[in-house]
């Protein structure tokens, strides 16, 4: 960290000190809460979430979010968090995997369906699948296999067939049912 240098402060007798303007920041909403980012405006949203806010549910996948692990909802649409510099996010609404469940702890139907189908391998890529599935179901409440085929996520554990079942379960209104 850069050393802080002592500065001489001149106090004038008429005490007309004007408070320094509060640093400009980027105001945005994340999971329903208001935040102001005052750091590097070029910082990608992913590192703001993970390093600054410690919201670590959104995972690092790679450059351009190649495996879909860093998907978040930006104004309702799934985007890769590493591709979103903070400067573009003023006034926007972000929802991460931590923001999907209700305030009372009740799971979002997509989360519930993933639990129902045990659609989890190691689980690292799961938050990305959840966001992609929420986005898909918002666009197409009753998606066909072709629609599900277009999800961008990758998974080496092989959870894809169970994810497919989970999405269909939500579409059928059966999340949380036996």
């Amino acid at each position: 960290m850069a050393p802080v240098q002592a500065q001489a402060v001149t106090v004038t007798s008429d005490s007309s000190i004007v408070p320094e303007k509060i640093r400009d920041g980027i105001d945005l909403e994340i999971n329903g809460e208001h935040y102001r980012h005052t750091g590097d405006p070029q910082m990608p949203l992913l590192w703001y979430l993970r390093d600054v806010l410690r919201l670590t549910g959104t995972k690092y996948g790679g450059e351009h979010g190649q495996n879909g692990a860093d998907l978040v909802l930006l104004d309702g649409k799934a985007v890769s968090a590493i591709d979103q510099p903070m400067t573009k996010l003023a006034g926007r609404q972000v929802v991460t995997v931590e923001g999907l469940a209700g305030n009372d702890g009740s799971l979002h139907p997509v989360q519930q369906a993933f639990v129902d189908e045990d659609a989890i391998g190691c689980g690292y890529c799961t938050p990305g699948w959840l966001i992609a599935a929420v986005d898909l179901l918002r666009r197409k409440p009753n998606p066909g296999d072709d629609d599900i085929d277009r999800l961008p996520n990758l998974c080496r554990c092989g959870c894809q067939t169970r994810v497919r079942s989970a999405i269909k379960r939500v579409a059928a209104g059966k999340a949380g049912q036996p």
């Binding site: 990608p44 995972k59 989890i120």
Partner: protein, 758 residues
């Protein structure tokens, strides 16, 4: 759980080396675990439980409020052991699963005169051995806890314990009075232990074992609350990102860090080098420059601005193409093999009696691990303590790296192992732990080391490519008379302190099909020398060999104009138990059974006349049996996998839902790998740097479902299953593709070869 907070109460000897131990925990808790003692002449199966000794092993703690805490000792890399191991204890205990929470135990180590004692015995994830190794021990833990609770209830009621029964966390008297486990825990912890281990449950009374249950971490995972190592913080740690030398054996020729250090937030640049003489996987993988900064973004920007010039080492002259040509030349030549792995009967003599011969050569590419969570490690070093959070499959090996680099005594090293974002063998190595410790030694703050995705692809301990030459001799009755397999590859065990005469063990299995089924059988391994780093890979050596062998059996059937199912069943013969060279047996009937099951399910009787292509394959691994049947369609030049059926016989099943997930998951992993994946290198430079270059299969390429059939086999103890479904998926796919397209793919990845040949 350390000893200073609890008092040792009593113990029962389970075997020469293991003791059941009971402790009175704090606040009226009952704690039961396993202690392992040193014994020079320990029998073989116990050797799996750890080399040395311990304190308190895999355990269960029953609190006064009735909550049950169960420790999971093996890292969960997505194999489900954090769910299945605790279920074994909970069932024997008759616990209420809804009151059970599971904690990852982290590394268990204490100080034994400067040497480590492994508190929990075996701690390895993703090797397929977790459940077999734990099956007996964990039941004993549950049974003892239950016995103590019953005794406590019997005394309180003044009736014999034999009159009482347990159900879901409650002891029930004949008159209907009930005591919860929580209300009995404090009394139970004071009861003297029986002279011998309490009887285990009759399997007919299992309430949890054999019943499906979801992953214990599911809710935390879907809400984003599960913390992987990469998500952990010590509060004031620096972030370190690396630029590695593109050649593992290269050197740093020039470095200019001026622009890097000018980046806001960047504090320091540290150079790292592999320690000479250390085996692969226990030191830095390649020379590297670490950029330390206050946050990840600053560190990444600083790394971008590094001016580095690297010089290649010997590997700078290597290419994957040239290595494959060398392998082919070795197999074509007359040189003796590096190792004759198996030699039954007399292949040459049998050759003279041949009615029919066939030979074929199969090629497989180099592969990488591509774990979802990249390599990372969080470390805090203090004068007399090292604390780490490590995404590892083998925490004891991570410990050895930390100990060597810090010189701390065994118990001064604390290693936590949270859920791990995929391992597949990559995390049996701990180069990234060595890096993190080295960097932390250079600064006076905790460090979180994080690899970028590109670093992760470029610096792996790869699986070597291989060439397999197979030849077969058949007699007039179409019986296999002779079999000769010759394989060339660069051993995953080279440069790892493995004796030369054992290097083949990562490449070939002495008992693999059709060994023991053919009177004259030979398998030879030819070593390729390469400076490219290599290491263990999920499913190896079975995966590469099953592709060659099971494709070849299909080719044999085709050459005889025969149904490959018939060829297979004739080869397996009458159901019988054949001895394995590594101990245990190979039951031909069980293997034939899984093969028939998948054939029935996919309606194999149509195999010749189906518009689509059908393919089958089977394999056995250490007493577990697996088969795949796959149906594909060729639509123009597009391959569509229509149906996939997998059958497995793994002995007793702990969690059918978890097993189904492992079998389906490994099937998809194997298909994804066979369809698309290859690591190539030229001038020693890896040519795949991210998922775009190493394209794991998309949803569209994979089948919509995997139909899993699990053979009921409660008469046998559980076998491992985490990679069981890997070997047979690729050959079943290639065999199906042959039926659909008339193209025989003998080279992976399949899609590239198929499109070339169509």
């Amino acid at each position: 759980m350390s000893n200073d907070r609890v008092t040792v109460h009593n113990q029962i000897q389970l075997s020469r080396r293991r003791f059941l131990q009971v402790l009175a925990g704090t606040a009226g808790a009952l704690v039961v675990g396993i202690r392992m003692a040193d014994a020079a002449d320990a029998p073989l199966p116990l050797a799996m439980l750890g080399d040395t000794f311990n304190d308190l092993g895999a355990y269960v703690r029953i609190d006064a409020d009735g909550n049950v805490l169960i420790g999971a000792r093996d890292p969960d890399t997505g194999t489900g052991v954090a769910t299945s191991l605790p279920r074994i204890i909970a069932d024997e205990l008759d616990a209420d699963w809804n009151r059970v929470s599971v904690v990852s135990l982290g590394l268990g180590v204490t100080d034994n005169n400067g040497q480590p004692r492994w508190t929990y015995g075996r701690q390895i994830g993703g090797s397929g051995g977790a459940i077999p190794a734990a099956w007996n021990d964990l039941r004993h833990v549950g049974a003892l806890a239950r016995w103590l609770l019953l005794q406590a209830a019997a005394r309180r009621l003044g009736v014999p314990a034999s009159n009482l029964r347990c159900d879901a966390g409650t002891v029930i008297a004949p008159d209907g009075r009930r005591f919860t486990y929580g209300s009995l825990a404090a009394d139970a912890s004071k009861i003297a232990l029986p002279a011998s281990v309490p009887l285990l449950k009759n399997a007919a009374n299992y309430q949890l074992i054999g019943k499906p249950v979801g992953d214990v971490d599911a809710r935390a995972i879907v809400t984003g609350l599960t913390r992987y190592a990469i998500d952990e913080h010590y509060g004031d740690e620096l972030i370190a990102v690396l630029a590695h030398c593109p050649w593992a054996d290269g050197t740093l020729a020039q470095i200019d860090t001026t622009d890097t250090l000018a980046v806001k937030g960047v504090l320091k640049v540290v150079q790292l080098k592999p320690e000479p003489g250390q085996p692969l996987g226990s030191t830095v993988i390649a020379p590297a420059v670490a950029v330390l900064a206050v946050d990840t973004w600053s560190a990444l920007q600083g790394r971008e601005k590094l001016k580095l010039e690297w010089k290649p080492g010997a590997s700078g002259g290597e290419s994957s193409n040239a290595l494959e040509q060398r392998a082919s030349a070795l197999l074509a030549g007359k040189t003796d093999p590096t190792t004759r792995v198996r030699n039954d009967g007399d292949v040459e003599a049998a050759s003279k009696k041949a009615a029919r011969r066939l030979e074929a050569t199969y090629f497989q590419p180099w592969l990488g691990h591509a774990t979802a969570e990249p390599m990372n490690c969080l470390v805090r070093l203090e004068k007399d303590r090292a604390s780490l959070v490590v995404p590892t499959q083998a925490p004891q090996k991570a410990w050895a790296v930390v100990q060597r680099l810090t010189g701390l005594s065994p118990a001064q090293i604390d290693i936590r192992v949270p859920r791990v974002g995929g391992g597949y063998g990559r995390r049996l190595d701990h180069d990234y732990v060595a890096e993190a410790v080295m960097v932390a030694k250079a600064v006076d703050k905790p460090v979180r080391l994080m690899w970028t995705r590109e670093e992760d692809f470029d610096h792996d301990y790869y699986q070597s490519g291989s060439v397999h030459h197979l030849s077969v001799i058949l007699d007039r009755k179409r019986q296999l008379l002779g079999w000769n397999q010759r394989m060339a590859s660069a051993s995953a065990l080279a440069h790892r302190n493995t004796p030369d005469n054992r290097l083949w063990t990562s490449e070939l299995h002495a008992d693999q099909l059709p060994a023991a089924l053919v009177p004259n059988y030979r398998s030879d391994w030819y070593a390729l020398n390469s400076a490219m780093p290599r290491g263990p890979m999920r499913g190896m050596p079975h995966t590469s060999n099953a592709f060659a062998v099971e494709s070849f059996i299909d080719e044999i059937a085709h050459s005889m104009k025969e149904d490959p199912l018939v060829t297979h069943l004739r080869m397996l013969g009458e159901p019988r138990e054949l001895p394995l060279s590594v101990g245990g047996t190979f039951n031909t009937g069980r293997l034939a059974n899984v093969l028939k099951l998948v054939a029935d399910r996919i309606e194999w009787k149509n195999w010749l006349h189906s518009v689509n292509g059908l393919g089958i394959a089977c394999w056995h691994i250490d007493g577990a049996y697996v088969a795949h049947a796959i149906e594909v369609a060729m639509q123009n030049q597009k391959l569509v996998i229509q149906r996939v059926v997998c059958a497995a016989d793994v002995g007793r099943v702990i969690n059918p839902l978890g097993l189904e997930g492992q079998l389906a998951g490994a099937t998809l992993d194997a298909l994804s790998t066979a369809l698309n994946l290859a690591i190539t290198f030229k001038d020693g430079l890896i040519q795949q740097h991210n998922y775009k270059d190493y394209p794991l299969a998309s949803m569209a390429q994979l089948p919509n479902a995997v139909e899993v059939i699990v053979v009921p086999a409660d008469d046998r103890p559980p076998a491992g299953a985490s990679f069981l479904a890997m070997p047979t998926a690729a050959p079943a796919l290639a065999n199906a593709v042959f039926r659909a397209s008339a193209v025989r793919v003998r080279r992976l990845p399949l899609m590239k070869e198929l499109l070339r040949m169509l």
